[in-house]
Symmetry: D2
Subunit: 158 residues, 4 copies
């Protein structure tokens, strides 16, 4: 669901905020680049929470884990110490076995775009063996995007 | 220099080793994915050192910094605590203003490929303003790959 | 100022909240212990902000940095992924050249005490040479604790 | 066993080396202080390895984990990017339920002492319930320090 289809579906997206920690900076005086991946994680987990899901419970009760298998990030501008950061996360596509998120990271004060990125996740159990998202998650995401029949298709175990 | 041109040039590549730290693991029991980016950095800096360059001196004496502007990574298999890891780094292409590295991360014991990735870097000064690599670096890299006229071309400020 | 002297002075203390990130956990399934130091830093910076000071500006405009020179921490109970954490920070004592903070880290949900600690900081400039806090900071902290003549004594350059 | 008793026992101590990573620095231009705790962990694990123990196996096969419960560190001098670091680790005292390590962190080039510290560890199982070190570890450490009857005393479950 890279682009929103007008009047037809709803994007599953959300924003979360955080503040740059001193520990996240490096000797260049700006945020060390790998920390953006941790911010993506924060954005992703908060998006799931906004959709009604608690990733901690998903791991504990449903034995479903979502490791990253593919990641891209483009850095546009440096993040500075103590900046308030907005992470905008979109769930672009999902099936019972694969989730695809995209991200935009902004400095809040002037809404400068700092980075964009994407992550792909598979579904595994605690032994790291591939499994499927329980139907309750699939149904919930379908309900959230009910007008878009292609958005999440539980019959396709991509 | 994505592919080696037979009998014509030399790849600028190198390997470095490290051991997975407890701090790098997460509650899934494997290495948290953002740590691979730090390992890429270790591989890159060691490759520069093997080429005769000290990145610390490049920053301090030449006021040249190489921030990551674009990054891709594909995770193939999990890295485990205490694994000995090999990072193979290739300098794929460079100009006076842009460097392109690729990486392969292996578990040393069974040579399992854990991840592959690429990073693009621009050259900036300590104020984060774009600048060019001093000619001594360009010459050195040209000498290391002397048979390949296309590898690093100081006239192209890409 | 470990204990508040009734009717005489005010403690300089504050609370800040954060949520445990996946990246902060380790393979034991709980937060890796060094992350508590980063949370102390978050607590300390927010306490300064609550006192009217912006540590970023202190570094940039006043060329004052506060590196940790001594640190103690006692771990009482593990922090879990996704826990909401409260960091309570107290400024225990300060002079123009030395600051002493103490910390209590709680899980918010059940107010379990997870860790206690202390940090000592010296004041240095950007060259890491010892310097003194500008009088404006000393005055402000004196005003905040105005009834306690021993709390911060700018004549003692301890 | 803070001090060696001449002619009577052997200290259990060892050294390990590492190189400062860019990711470990902060905007003050030096290593962020919490990274020293990770280096302590590296030193501790290598000391156990030098004693014939593999901490990974201790966790996996013996279900023994050694979380830090108490930690002190004194910072003497900053560590710089790309410095080669020596971590000297001593096992100061142990029982079947408690281990006490001390550390000295040096810059290798000029043997400057950068930090000293101590950690206390309890022994827990994977559920974080207190347990005891298997007798094989106790015996091995007794053998390594065989002349010192007070060093590790398996009858004292401190």
């Amino acid at each position: 669901m890279g682009k929103e289809i007008e009047g037809v579906n709803k994007k599953i997206s959300g924003e979360t905020k955080l503040r740059v920690r001193y520990a996240e900076t490096d000797k260049m005086g700006v945020v060390y680049h790998s920390n953006f991946l941790i911010w993506f994680e924060v954005g992703r987990v908060e998006l799931l929470r906004q959709c009604g899901f608690d990733y901690r419970e998903m791991e504990k009760k449903d034995n479903c884990h979502l490791p990253v298998v593919d990641l891209k990030i483009r850095y546009k501008a440096p993040a500075q110490y103590d900046d308030e950061i907005v992470v905008r996360t979109d769930l672009k596509r999902m099936s019972a076995s694969l989730l695809h998120f995209s991200y935009e990271v902004f400095r809040e004060s002037d809404r400068t775009l700092l980075a964009t990125g994407e992550t792909m996740h598979i579904v595994v159990d605690s032994k790291l063996v591939r499994t499927s998202l329980p139907e309750k998650y699939m149904k919930a995401f379908r309900d959230l995007t009910f007008h878009d029949p292609t958005f999440c298709d539980p019959t396709k175990n991509s």
